[in-house]
Subunit: 473 residues, 2 copies
């Protein structure tokens, strides 16, 4: 088979939060919707089993440590509509879901502004151990002022300083995960009574501008050491951070042309930093996919979803994302697209909106009420598969973070209808690749590749040729 | 039955850490010992099933965020013997164990010096939701300097200032858990599309000396709201803190006379603070129990354990607990008992040592090599039950935190041999009480009782007569 005949595989993550209304406010009001069961373990274990049956890469858990209080200058609308509040801790869900699955992986969003890297690194290593290496971390530098205030800061750090802190935070994590314990440090010698060889375990002696961590990592090395790293930076500084650290990047998906340019940018940025832009970085776009047995059924479903959507909830989310109180606008006021570096002005945050047309405030709110800022596709499995293939092939994307509308109906439809179609087309794995999350994604070693900056923090290690794990043929 | 004929029930917690060697260094070297499986989920789920079969109250997870580097002024001996390092995050184990059990509860040690109360309160509420109210928190103000250094402090706060911080930390937690969301705030009205009623959800507006938290709690109320509160303070200031906040207290158990005095102190302290010293506070002592089918078998087991114990590991732990580098002493040097308020001078930390006799350094190290600072009892189920009953009846204790020597052999012996004997004597539950951890412990409501200071932070609530849950008859 010639290389040109090999079709690029499509990766799916399921995109959720530990809350009632993530990106489709109002849907929880349907009798059949399970979103209000988010407090019950079965909600998550049933989901995990379903997604593993559908050979999803991962459950991707977003998180936000604060409340959407921009709309109406009050948290009331968020609370009324359960728009990302209440919001429980995502980390606790991973042991539940990993216990009922073998291959499904878990991405978790943790804002590095709000936990010290010394304790955070231990939390992640613990999960990587308990899941045999099925963990990814979505690196976030938080964006809700309300979150910053609640941990005692008067306001957030400036956008650029947040990235300076983030770079140092990553350095501390790499030192702990990669540099502290050499391979072979854990000897488990029952005869001599030696569990670990202290000469191969190193205090990291980090003394930087923001953090001081003199000691060793408290955990022995897990399969992946550093978890798979995700990032969603879209600003200039954010793209540089992603180009440097991220193994997987989320991009906004307004139009194919814009995505294609963003994808090329990210790969070029990674290449400029000494990595392979094509093979070292996978790029995902957020999408919402409504699949029906017929075109009509899919569109009817979407209509029902739109009828049930909460306008107030969507306005709350969009106000939070943009930092603009949409309650102070008239429904017919038009929004303008301003592509700022901070990415927080009107349509620039409203990322899936076509910037070439005019949007009224109400149109924008209705648009985000299903699937948030990502595009929504409704159709038969054939129609949806066609469109996803086109997106992949035209833009250079590697996969999608699929949001749900109805819990767990949206994912059930995808697993039952769409995935078999993509498998028939040779576009989607029939079986999981063996090994850790990183091995499944990149079909090479469990550890960071030598091209990744985190690998530079390894100590006293001979460069090993990482064993190549072949993808399922 | 007259009240005098009702024998006091004995409570058991299983005392563990997410590590290889907790309180019995060296035991992991036995082929049959499972301690080196601490990285595998089955190690914990098997344990949880076993303990639920034995009707234990809870798995109690200790934690320490630092390394024992006092002995030999180096972390090397701790690493060699796996003495509480590597040490993984305890929180991740709770969803694993709760998923395979229905009644077993989970106590977790979290040092309040190292996480902001706003994020910590969310972690605990999340676990209380996912376990239907089976969570307790062991409040610790940390004691290892190495831990403080690694989160960027040059050294720890002074002992007394730590308790000032702790009091304010508790205040923030109570405001979030008890005061932020009224009962009835979550309405889940599918017709009106209202999940929560903002008029019943309150920003806590906390602005104290150490913490500023203006916002609401991010989680809706869990069954218990505030988890069951454990504390182990033994200093004067620590006893005051425990008398105020703790629903369960750990005490050191050197001799019955001393324990009896401590128990009376704690109950008096609670009573002086307006609580019922007898019914509002349960008191537990750390014990290690080796049960055999015959006296000989039990003593042989203990001998084998002692033969396998790591002297280096025990010296490392004891040096860490006392702050005294025992490597600088001769084996025959004698230790003196100094009952300081800080509790860190020699035998004062070595709490189960009889202070009335002379101890050499080597004797003390050998003593703690099995079961740490707690007493060790070996015998048949009859002999052990006799002794535990005497401790309970003579000292006023309510139960024991049982340490293990061999994983999971120690607990298997207890479940198979000791518990049936205690049940025959009417001293131990045959079946679990229904409800949450607090309901199982106190046979009353799931929430903090009105006598607890945390209950004062409730807002806009009519004082409810909490439903009395009857203990199993």
């Amino acid at each position: 088979m010639s290389p040109a005949a090999v079709k690029k595989q499509i990766h799916f993550n399921a995109f959720l939060m530990n809350c009632v209304a993530h990106l489709a406010p109002g849907q929880w009001t349907a009798e059949h919707d399970r979103a209000t069961d988010y407090l019950k373990p079965d909600y998550w274990t049933d989901l995990a089993r379903l997604l593993e049956r559908g050979r999803f890469d991962a459950v991707f858990l977003a998180d936000v440590l604060g409340i959407y209080d921009v709309y109406g200058a009050s948290p009331d609308s968020a609370l009324r509509t359960a728009a990302q509040v209440p919001m429980n801790d995502p980390l606790a869900l991973i042991p539940l879901m990993s216990q009922v699955t073998q291959h499904l992986c878990f991405g978790v969003t943790c804002s590095l502004s709000y936990e010290h890297p010394y304790t955070f690194a231990r939390r992640i290593s613990t999960l990587d151990h308990l899941t045999s290496g099925r963990i990814a971390w979505n690196i976030v530098t938080s964006y809700l002022d309300s979150a910053a205030r609640n941990i005692g800061l008067d306001r957030q750090l400036s956008h650029d300083e947040r990235y300076d802190v983030a770079d140092e935070y990553m350095e501390v994590c790499y030192k702990l995960w990669e540099g502290s314990w050499e391979d072979g440090a854990v000897v488990k010698d029952r005869v001599r009574g030696v569990y670990a060889d202290p000469s191969k375990i190193h205090a990291i002696a980090h003394a930087g501008r923001y953090y001081k961590v003199p000691g060793i990592h408290l955990c022995e090395p897990s399969s992946q050491r550093t978890p798979v790293l995700f990032q969603a930076g879209s600003s200039g500084r954010g793209k540089h951070f992603a180009g440097n650290h991220a193994e997987c990047v989320f991009v906004a998906a307004p139009t194919r042309d814009i995505v294609k340019r963003n994808v090329a940018d990210i790969r070029a940025q990674a290449a400029a930093l000494g990595r392979n832009g094509e093979t070292d970085v996978l790029i995902f776009a957020m999408f919402t996919v409504i699949v029906g047995r017929t075109t009509q059924e899919a569109h009817d479903k979407l209509e029902q979803y739109r009828a049930r959507a909460s306008h107030e909830g969507a306005a709350t989310l969009l106000s939070g994302w943009t930092g603009i109180d949409l309650a102070t606008y008239q429904p017919d006021d038009t929004l303008t697209y301003v592509d700022t570096d901070a990415g927080r002005s009107a349509l620039a945050s409203f990322s899936s909106a076509d910037p070439t047309r005019t949007w009224t405030v109400d149109e924008a709110i209705d648009f985000v009420s299903i699937g948030g800022r990502g595009p929504v596709i409704a159709g038969t499995s054939t129609e949806v598969a066609d469109e996803l293939e086109e997106w992949i092939d035209e833009t250079g994307l590697d996969g999608f973070n699929l949001a749900y509308v109805s819990a767990h109906q949206t994912f059930e439809d995808i697993v039952e209808l769409l995935i078999p179609e993509l498998q028939r087309r040779g576009r989607y794995r029939d079986e999981y690749e063996p090994g850790t999350y990183r091995q499944k994604l990149f079909a090479r070693g469990a550890r960071l590749p030598a091209s990744h900056p985190g690998s530079r923090y390894r100590k006293h290690e001979k460069p090993t040729s990482e064993p190549v794990v072949n993808a399922h043929s």
